[in-house]
């Protein structure tokens, strides 16, 4: 809401007061407001207020050629853009019944996992910052930047890669890329101790995060929570494992689980997941050179490409949870409808509103960040 449109709410005869977190607040990865009603330092109710990042992408996509939308979709989630590109391409391929060459599938998984690492590093920093620790956020962003260097080398872009295309990926990997990826993974593993010391086994942080913002499994299922937040409640559900796409079935990885469902569990799940991604990438580095062949099956001239009539609902596991696109084609050269089911759309709104009730004001920011909500996924 624009400031000039805001009317001061007076709450007479009580100690209650309103406090706005956001729309610019380090507790969340984007512009997003959370309006609290407080009594002293206890939260009486919280109200999520989205729309600051609404760019009408779903509407825009209906007015653009199938391939032009590739430049839009990564913008829906800045910290973790690759799943957006991949899942959009997957829906189009599903409707068109396009075979994606195996090599392209491996390259896609490589990007997806690298993107997950970048996103989780970002979250570590952000989460720590909400507890007053700023060093991990510098580290997280700096180490994420090294992943962005790799993306730049692979795709030509640091943040918006626009690298996946229905039918595969736009170019093959550059020479020596896998070596540099391998170096990066080595580096990340040497950093594990640093992060553990600084954050995950730092008693100050552990005590601060434990038992805060508890979401039990029953609530999580009732409210449709997915991703690391669900796994932190003890349910080992992961789209990569349970509804596999691309070549995930051929990969060997664990699904990290915690059972307490609090802020600490959530960040520990992410920590373990990051190193599972490292494990996956190691397998890819080993296997990719032996997967020969093209990286793209040709699509028709994009200026005159009528995608077959049909609809497809495809899901991937993004760093935030279950990300899905529902794409409908009426047989035309533009999508008839693209519905983006943002991975954060559950835990950024209703779950957060419910969880904040009864919390203390100093914990709200940590709860927000521990859920790893991505506002542009809500706004689209």
């Amino acid at each position: 809401m624009r400031p000039e449109n805001y009317q001061v709410v007076s709450l007479p005869n009580s100690d209650e007061y309103e406090l706005f977190i956001g729309p610019n607040h380090p507790g969340i990865e984007g512009n997003y407001a959370f309006k609290l009603k407080l009594d002293g330092d206890r939260v009486i109710s919280g109200k999520a207020d989205a729309g600051y990042l609404h760019r009408g992408f779903e509407k825009l996509m209906e007015g653009r050629l199938w391939i032009q939308n590739l430049a839009i979709v990564p913008r829906i989630c800045v910290p973790d853009p690759v799943p957006m590109e991949v899942v959009y391409s997957l829906t189009v391929e599903d409707i068109e019944k396009t075979e994606v060459p195996l090599r392209a599938q491996w390259i896609r998984v490589m990007q997806l996992e690298l993107s997950r690492i970048a996103s989780h590093l970002f979250t570590f920093g952000g989460h720590a910052a909400t507890t007053g620790m700023y060093t991990p956020s510098y580290w997280g962003v700096a180490d994420r930047d090294l992943a962005l260097d790799l993306f730049e080398e692979l795709t030509g872009g640091r943040v918006y890669h626009i690298y996946n295309i229905p039918g595969g990926v736009r170019r093959d990997i550059p020479n020596g890329f896998l070596d540099r990826l391998s170096d990066y993974l080595d580096y990340l593993q040497t950093r594990q101790n640093d992060y553990d010391n600084l954050l995950f086994t730092n008693q100050v942080f552990v005590k601060r995060a434990r038992d805060i913002g508890v979401l039990n499994q029953e609530q999580a299922l009732e409210w449709g929570v997915t991703g690391p937040n669900l796994r932190a409640t003890g349910l080992a559900f992961d789209v990569r494992r349970d509804d596999p796409y691309l070549i995930y079935e051929q990969l060997d990885f664990d699904i990290p689980v915690q059972s307490a469902g609090d802020c600490l569990s959530r960040i520990l799940v992410r920590r373990d997941e990051l190193f599972q991604s490292v494990r996956i990438l190691r397998q890819i580095i080993k296997h990719l050179p032996s997967v020969k062949g093209p990286v793209r099956s040709p699509i028709p001239n994009p200026l005159a490409w009528n995608v077959a009539k049909g609809e497809s609902y495809c899901r991937v596991e993004s760093s935030k949870g279950e990300l899905a696109y529902y794409t409908v084609s009426d047989g035309g050269d533009k999508p008839y409808r693209v519905h983006v089911r943002g991975a954060s759309s559950m835990h950024a709104v209703q779950v957060l509103e419910n969880m904040s009730v009864g919390q203390r004001i100093e914990d709200v920011a940590q709860i927000m960040f521990s859920l790893d909500a991505c506002p542009p996924e809500v706004d689209r």
């Binding site: 624009r2 729309g51 449709g224 997915t226 349970d242 609902y313 519905h339 089911r341 209703q350 809500v378």
Partner: protein
């Protein structure tokens, strides 16, 4: 409970509902077409008896030619590892008057988010949904923008101005007798 058992059970369940059409698209994807009147009952059964406890999304598609909205409820079963998409159609009504349907919030809590979104973007009012108010488009007073009859590009062109550049190189070319020949808005495909 085994996946096969659930699937068998599901088939038995689905046969109980009138006018239902079931298409198995793949191992993990089922499409169900159901009349609007039977949909809540179907979801009730799916959640209560067939382990489809996770409502992944509700998608809305506008079909002005048919004067209908299509609502798609994507439900996931953690046990059967299968995604069931229940499609239904409701009358569209004109832009001034909202289309109406019932909320499934009492079955699936996540529905509240999607129903509010569809209410805002398409103008479908969900009876007894907890939050039928503005969320994303707080300061928007126009028609529900995701309806096909709202032309976003025309709105943008009417509301905003194109940047008016006139750099030196362009002035030089104009002096030579050339200049801007095709503006981007002239050839949008």
């Amino acid at each position: 409970m085994k996946c096969d058992e659930i699937n068998a059970w599901l088939d038995a369940l689905l046969s109980e509902i009138n006018e239902i059409e079931v298409t198995r698209k793949s191992e993990r994807r089922v499409r169900v077409d159901v009349p609007a009147s039977s949909l809540p009952a179907l979801l009730e059964l799916l959640k209560g008896k067939a382990s489809y406890v996770h409502l992944s999304a509700i998608s809305c598609v506008d079909w002005p030619g048919d004067e209908e909205f299509e609502l798609v409820y994507h439900c996931w079963s953690y046990e059967a590892k299968s995604l069931l998409s229940a499609h239904t159609r409701i009358p569209r009504n004109s832009a001034e008057e909202f289309a109406h349907y019932v909320s499934v919030y009492d079955i699936y809590k996540p529905a509240a988010f999607f129903e509010r979104d569809i209410y805002e973007m398409f103008g479908v009012y969900f009876e007894s949904s907890p939050y039928m108010e503005k969320f994303i488009l707080t300061e928007w007073n126009g028609p529900p923008p995701m309806r096909k009859d709202f032309d976003a590009e025309a709105y943008v062109n009417d509301t905003f101005n194109w940047a008016d550049y006139h750099p030196q190189w362009l002035q030089d070319i104009e002096e030579e007798g050339g200049g801007i020949a095709i503006r981007p808005e002239d050839i949008r495909l």
